[in-house]
Amino acid sequence: MTEPALKVSALTKRFGGLTAVSNVSLQIAKGTLHAVIGPNGAGKSTLIHLLSGDLLPSSGSIHLGARDISGLPPDQRSRAGIGRSYQKTNIFPTFSVLENCRLAAQSREPHAFNLFRPASAYRAITETAEQALVAVGLQHRAQFSAGFMSHGEQRQLEIAMSLAGKPQVLLLDEPLAGMGTEEAENMVRLLHELIKDHAVLLVEHDMDAVFALADVLTVMVNGCVLESGTPEQIRNSPAVQRAYLGHEENEHA
């Protein structure tokens, strides 16, 4: 087996007396999608925040490849190769769609910019941004104001912005939230494509999508990992059925 792109060991986050994430370990390899599911308040979003650097862990470690990134702030993690999307759409609504992605691509340019050269003159950056838009199928919207697009398109833009930063690891926080059936199908198709070149961590409530996409599933309850395994193992796990899917079983019974 290849070395995991992202390796999380015994990650814990405490807010005062509350342990939001407790002793969570998981690994994601390139070319696979690792889904994290669990009821509301299980600590899934906190986990993503810990991985992206929006929150710093109380203990435990996060390795990107061989590099320990546990103490890095969000901007350094982003440049190290972690891209994320937000549960609540987090774009620049008054900027054009292309500019949203162009900014994301610009952040990857290491050299100092010429103050008197327009941003549009940096062709390579614009091309990266355009490729990201093509990848999510938004190229026809490039010149629109981002805030005027539909909810589904704004969710796609979220992902395009992560892609423009050319990440190795993608953290996706409920990309299907609030989407219509057709939009959701498009998004699932897009995620299928993204898995090929990335290590993806997906937090999602849409179970059809999760079981269609995931190579590995981790079930979280009250901040702890209840069970981790292939979709088949999770489906057949008595503990998971009791704690989570169990509600459905009871209804059927």
Binding site: P74, D75, S78, I91, Q106, E109, S120, G147
Partner: protein, 350 residues
């Protein structure tokens, strides 16, 4: 109104809702160009009084433009911008020999570098805060400088110091520019104001400028996209400090005198009010604000027009500012490009 709004290619849509304008897009440029021609003609038609008045207005315009870079583009509301203005004023007054002219080529860069260095040190500390803390802490540093010059003999204490002979620009013994000559000084200010305006226009079009606008719109997202937000803000803070220093240098030369008053929070407050009056986030609003602020102040304090009430011009000025802010949330320059109607914030095709 269900047609999607398209932004001009490559242009950053800064306005909340890029909707139809009251005036066609070109009209703004025409109004601004007419204003610039008007300013260029002042020395040809006006008395020395007007030369001095409009020179002062353009100096304040440079000051206000420099603050607009912080407030209007980067989202940093500084209430201590007089620190850099005043410091540069003191530098030229202190660096000039008493009875002969200093070199413009030496003192102007020196004053601007001093202001920039102060902004670098202060910015490094204050940019760790945000919101109302940022406002308070920028004010605090400006007050420190104020008392440094007020309570020590460094710059003549509370009496200030005179700049008897104004700087000259001479190359190889030939005098090219003498700030003691009002006409030359006026056009020098005019040229610098245009240079600052168009220079910043270009900088704001660069990747650095785009990043600043992104930081103002959504700092958190910029950080998660990988931007080292702190250094971008510090860059803007130093640049704004240097340009405020340019304005302070010119002000010291024009009045021939510096006192701690140029470092006071009144000065920081006035330039902020100019931005509110003129409108922020478009650079020309800062010029419109400086023009209207100084002219309205002159108007209300004119005894010829208002007699005994003129003494209380600050009251009239206050009412005027409140009315403008209430009626024109985007300032006077908002009249030039006010959206005709708020566009609906909804999807176009579902």
């Amino acid at each position: 109104m269900h047609t999607p709004v398209q932004t001009k290619s490559g242009a950053l849509a800064v306005a909340a809702a890029p909707a139809k304008r009251l005036l066609p897009a070109g009209a703004t440029s025409i109004v601004l160009a007419a204003g610039a021609i008007g300013l260029a003609l002042v020395p040809l038609v006006g008395t020395p009084f007007y030369l001095q008045l409009f020179g002062k207005i353009m100096i304040m315009a440079i000051f206000a433009i420099s603050l607009d870079l912080l407030v209007g583009y980067t989202g940093l509301v500084s209430l201590g911008h007089s620190a850099y203005f005043g410091l540069a004023g003191y530098v030229v007054a202190l660096a000039s020999p008493k009875y002969e002219a200093a070199s413009l080529l030496l003192t102007l860069p020196l004053a601007m570098l001093a202001a920039g260095a102060a902004a670098l040190v202060i910015g490094f500390l204050v940019l760790r805060t945000s919101g109302v803390y940022f406002i308070m802490v920028t004010l605090a540093f400006a007050q420190m400088l104020y008392y440094l010059f007020h309570d020590t003999s460094l710059g003549g204490g509370s009496d200030g110091i005179y700049l008897y002979v104004k700087p000259v620009l001479s190359v190889g013994g030939t005098e090219l520019l003498n700030l003691d000559k009002p006409m030359q000084f006026y056009y020098f200010i005019f040229a610098l104001m245009l240079a600052v305006y168009f220079g910043l226009r270009m900088i704001l079009r660069s990747p650095f400028g785009h990043a600043l606008v992104g930081i103002k719109a959504n700092e958190h997202r910029m950080r998660s996209l990988g931007f080292q937000v702190f250094w971008y803000k510090l860059g803007a803070f130093v640049l704004a400090g240097m340009l405020a220093g340019m304005a302070g240098y010119l002000a010291a030369c024009q009045f021939g005198y510096v006192s701690p008053e140029i470092l006071s929070w009144h000065n920081s407050g006035n330039v902020l009010v100019m931005l509110l009056l003129g409108g922020m986030g478009n650079l020309y609003g800062a010029i419109v604000g400086a023009v209207s602020f100084v002219l309205v102040q002159e108007l209300f304090s004119s005894e010829a027009l208002f007699g005994a009430i003129a003494k209380h011009w600050q009251l009239a000025m206050g009412i005027f500012i409140v009315l403008i802010v209430l009626c024109l949330p985007n300032g006077l320059s908002g009249l030039l490009n006010r959206p005709a109607k708020q566009a609906p914030n909804e999807a176009d095709d579902d």
